[in-house]
C-alpha cells in the first residue's frame, strides 16, 4: 500500500562491521565518521521513491562480530518498530568474522550502553613489532590503539579477552554463535514481515578452506538448514565474501579495507537481488 510509504518515515537499517561502517573510505574521517559511500548506503540511495521520506539507520560498528551485529540490528528494528511514525523499509546486513565475541560485562560507563564489549583477536597482548606492522607506523592509529587498550583495561575487558582467546576460543563455538545469531535475526525479521537481505564479508563464516562447517556434525548441519539462503547475496562461489571478492578483483585497498570503488561496484552487483527481495513494484 503506497500510502504507508508516503505517510511515514521509511527506515533503512544497515548492520555489519567496519565494511558497513565504511572504514578507510574517502569520507570516513579519522575512522569516526560513518561513510556514505558504503555498499549499504549505495543500496539505500539506489532504491527510493519520489515524494517519500527516508532515513538511513546505521547499526554497524567497526570491529564487531556476528552476535554483536545481530544485537544492534535487533535493537534498531525494535526501536523503529515501536515508533508509529516509522516504517521499516528494509534491513541489510553484512555478516562478519567468526572470531569476534560480544559480551555483556558488569556495568561500566565506558562500555556500549554501559554493558556491551566486543572482543577480537587483536585485543590480546601483542608484541610491539606485531603492533607496529599492523598499524603501518601511523601515529594516529598507534594513539587510537593505546586509548582502546587503556579502556579495555579500565572496563575489565582486557583480561577477559586474554582468557577467552587463550583457554576457550575455538572455531566450532564461534561458528555456532554466529549461525545462531543469523537464524535469530532472520526469524525475527520474518516474523515481523520485514524485508531483508544478508551478505557476508568473508566465507570463513561457512567454510574452513574447502570444508563446510555444516559437515562437522548433526547439530551444525541442522543449524545450517535453518538459514534461508534465498535472502543472501554472495560475491562468488562457495559463499565468497565482499572482502575476498575485492581482494580477488584487485580493488584499491587502504590498510585493511577495500576503498570506494569496490563498494560502488558491489552495489551494482547487489542491486538486482535487493530489488527482487524488496518486491520490485509496490502496490
Amino acid at each position: 500500500m503506497y500510502w504507508v510509504y508516503m505517510s511515514k518515515i521509511n527506515v533503512f537499517i544497515a548492520g555489519g562491521c567496519s565494511f558497513t561502517f565504511g572504514h578507510e573510505l574517502s569520507d570516513n574521517l579519522n575512522g569516526r565518521t560513518p561513510s556514505m559511500k558504503t555498499w549499504a548506503h549505495g543500496l539505500y540511495e539506489g532504491y527510493k521513491y519520489p515524494g517519500t521520506i527516508y532515513h538511513y539507520e546505521l547499526a554497524a560498528t567497526p570491529g564487531t562480530g556476528n552476535p554483536g551485529i545481530a544485537r544492534r540490528v535487533f535493537k534498531a528494528v525494535a526501536e523503529a518498530h515501536k515508533n508509529p511514525e516509522q516504517n521499516i523499509e528494509a534491513v541489510v546486513v553484512m555478516w562478519s568474522f567468526n572470531s569476534r565475541y560480544d559480551w555483556a560485562m558488569p556495568r561500566h560507563r565506558n562500555l556500549e550502553d554501559t554493558r556491551w564489549a566486543t572482543m577480537s583477536p587483536w585485543d590480546t597482548n601483542m608484541r610491539a613489532e606485531e603492533r607496529h606492522n599492523a598499524l603501518s607506523g601511523s601515529e594516529a592509529q598507534q594513539e587510537q590503539w593505546k586509548r582502546r587498550q587503556e579502556l579495555m583495561i579500565e572496563t575489565g575487558v582486557k583480561p577477559f579477552a586474554e582468557a577467552i582467546y587463550k583457554h576457550a576460543a575455538n572455531e566450532y563455538h564461534e561458528t555456532y554463535l554466529s549461525w545462531k545469531s543469523i537464524i535469530w535475526l532472520q526469524n525475527i525479521l520474518e516474523k515481523k514481515g520485514i524485508k531483508y537481505m544478508f551478505t557476508l564479508a568473508d566465507n570463513s563464516l561457512f567454510y574452513k578452506d574447502f570444508a563446510h562447517h555444516k559437515d562437522q556434525d548433526g547439530l551444525m548441519s541442522a543449524l545450517h538448514d535453518e538459514i534461508d539462503f534465498t535472502k543472501w547475496f554472495s560475491f562468488g562461489e562457495r559463499m565468497m565474501g565482499f572482502n575476498q571478492w575485492a581482494l580477488m578483483e584487485d580493488y584499491p585497498r587502504g590498510t585493511t579495507h577495500p576503498l570506494d570503488k569496490a563498494h560502488e561496484d558491489a552495489v551494482k552487483l547487489m542491486m538486482p537481488m535487493y530489488k527482487k527481495i524488496k518486491g520490485g513494484v509496490r502496490s
Binding site: S18, W122, Q144, K166
Partner: protein
Amino acid sequence: MINWIKKLINKIKQELAYRKRLKELKKKDPFIYK
C-alpha cells in the same frame, strides 16, 4: 622432579599452540583501530 618438568613442557606447548592459533585468527581478521 619429572612432574615439574612435564608441567613446564606442557605449559610451553600450550603457549606455543595459543600463539599459533592467534596468528591464524589475526591473519583473517583485519585490524580495526583506525
